[in-house]
Amino acid sequence: MATSTEELRDWIKTRKYEAGFVTDLESDTLPPGLDEEIIRFISAKKNEPEWLLEWRLNAYKVWQDRHEPQWAHLQIPDIDYKAISYYSAPKSMADMPKSLDEVDPKLLETYEKLGIPLEEQKRLAGVAMDYVFDSVSVHTTFREKLADAGVVFCSISEAVQTHPELVRKYLGTVVPARDNFFAGLNSAVFTDGSFVYIPKGVKCPMELSTYFRINEMNTGQFERTLIIADEGSEVSYLEGCTAPQRDENQLHAAVVELIALDNAKIKYSTVQNWYPGDEDGRGGIYNFVTKRGDCRGRNSHIAWTQVETGSAITWKYPSCVLRGDNSIGEFYSVAVTNNHQQADTGTKMIHLGRNTRSTIVSKGIAAGQSDQSYRGLVRVSPKAEGARNHTQCDSLLIGPKCGAHTFPYSEVRHPSAILEHEATTSRIGEDQLFYCRSRGMSEEDAVSMIVNGFCKDVFRELPMEFAVEAGKLLAVSLEGAVG
């Protein structure tokens, strides 16, 4: 009788990436290479003001003196940054589309293949979409409704033109160019991304959502997202990703900056499903992202929720700087790795203000020959009286060849701090699988069910639409479907 572990491995091996296709679309792409001229070209192409060009050039200088971080538990192949093309725009974008009718039908086709038809999304749940195709935003919906509420939701290129004072005031204040190698590179060459400003006292009337999609061969993606929640405002932002299947490795080095002023709340949710490479570890996206939220005001609140299933290599630590007194930071994460995927992910909670609280819930699932690490830092500064942290860090292993590691760091410089850390590592038991199968469920369904149960604490933090998507990603409908 075959052991079910073997059968399980076979099943995992054959779980193919379903969004693997490439849209044929002529691009206005720069030749590979990086120097000051390239940066001037990007800035000119985007009609940027002088200060932003200077900001980019300064970042480029800083970046040249820096090296890739070596401390992560990752094996990263050498990346030739001169072999990357730093700008690409779909040609049909030369004239901005005024409505859906003007959008390249191939783009729409792509979204439909992804299961996110625009019309459907428009109808459903009132979610506004800011699609990013390669590096240029092609369409934004619901702009008027948001405008009525005073909410600014547009591409960051557009914001540079329409709200330069806001961009200049906040850009790089959470993640400066010198922060790390990838943030420096992003600051020099970022091409587009999203910009959100929620005015004082406004609760954003809908969830804001961006779908990213990487398309051109050898085109690095350098998205820059900036979200500002002014005093007493609230916003929930959704980011979902998927990419076409190909053999070239693709670098993605995004920067996301969140700023919450007094009494403001930002909830940032991600479902990341980029191409992870094939069964033998060929291809796949490198995802080196710097995401950080600054709880700048009193009683401010930033929550990160992420479901990470894609990418060949993930280096990602959505973090919170708890600067304002009584501010709250939260991090809920599900990371799934399979085949040869590697992920080093986690969070940093930097307690600076008094009575600041943070919660970390990390669920890692490793299968195949993948390797994943949770890396988390909780720092309590000398002035952070009454700081509290609770960390829950669980790993689930599927099969004998994968690895899971936990690297928790604590730096506590105030005696009143209370930190709790719980960690578990377990395997999907053959007895659990057999129990489900003896009730008539297929092994595949059983695995999905067990994994979904394991992730429940994180999934319930997701907005409903995303919870559904996350459940789909783990191939099973969600908890609570009954009654």
């Binding site: 075959a2 659990q432 003896s438 008539g440 469920m441 979904n452 149960g453 609570g480 009954v482």
Partner: protein, 249 residues
């Protein structure tokens, strides 16, 4: 319904079952008794397809199908239910969700549409009430934090929902207090019918005071060494297993 012929099975090259012959007709209740290590649980495991056993000889047909050739989930939806000696915890998956998935798998195999949510909720509530389990347990993780007795009763809840053609209950009675034993017995008796058969794997005779078996078999050394009616169970209780196992040797 079930025909076991000359069944031999081993675990890690160690022979556990050494030629079981047993025929179970529709509507019959068979008790399989025997001392520890006699192969009782192995028999239940082999019939339900638990991984880890090697079948070295013999055959099993279930309603005309070659049972040993079927995956565990195929055996289940063909109408075979195993009540676990040690029910498994599945954290984060609610009891209701789990049982609904099971019910729908059985319905799909019969070509029926999925059960409607309200109908299912009403069924599971009734079954929980019959087993005197608090109804909030339907929203708790499968067996998560349940006491030993609650887990066993939760197995009977599943049996009541699935209404199997053949239920194999592996020491469902052990670890139950007398009240719980009565409840479990009531659950079994409620399902007894001319079309439905039971195999009760048990150490003790006391379950058989509440569920009257048609046949009693004593297993020792991986063989059935004695078969009889409920009188046999009473004699075993009075005289111990040595009485029959010694006789067999």
């Amino acid at each position: 319904m079930l025909e076991i012929k000359n069944l031999h099975a081993s675990v890690d090259d160690k022979a556990i079952l050494n030629g079981i012959d047993l025929t179970i007709g529709a509507g019959e209740v068979h008790a399989v008794m025997g001392p520890n290590g006699s192969g009782k649980s192995t028999l239940g495991g082999v019939l339900s397809g638990r991984p880890g056993y090697t079948i070295t000889d013999g055959s099993v047909t279930f309603n005309g199908q070659d049972l040993l050739d079927m995956e565990p989930e195929e055996r289940a939806v063909a109408g075979l239910f195993l009540g676990f000696q040690y029910p498994v915890e599945i954290p984060g998956v609610s009891n209701a969700y789990f049982m609904k998935a099971a019910v729908n798998a059985w319905r799909a195999a019969r070509g029926e549409p999925e059960i409607d949510a309200m109908g299912f909720l009403s069924d599971i509530r009734k079954a929980m009430e019959a087993m005197e389990l608090p109804t909030d347990m339907i929203h708790r993780g499968v067996n998560e934090g349940f006491s030993g007795g609650e887990k066993k009763r939760n197995e009977i809840v599943q049996m009541l929902l699935l209404k199997p053609a053949l239920a194999i209950l592996d020491e469902t009675d052990s670890g139950l207090d007398i009240d719980a034993l009565k409840l479990v017995s009531q659950g079994i008796n409620a399902l007894r019918s001319a079309e439905r058969s039971f195999v009760l794997i048990t150490h003790y005779q006391r379950l058989l005071d509440y569920v009257k078996p048609d046949h009693v078999h004593v297993l020792a050394g991986g063989r059935i060494v004695r078969s009889g009616d409920e009188e046999l169970a009473r004699e075993l209780e009075a005289r111990g297993y040595g009485w029959v196992t010694g006789e067999a040797a």
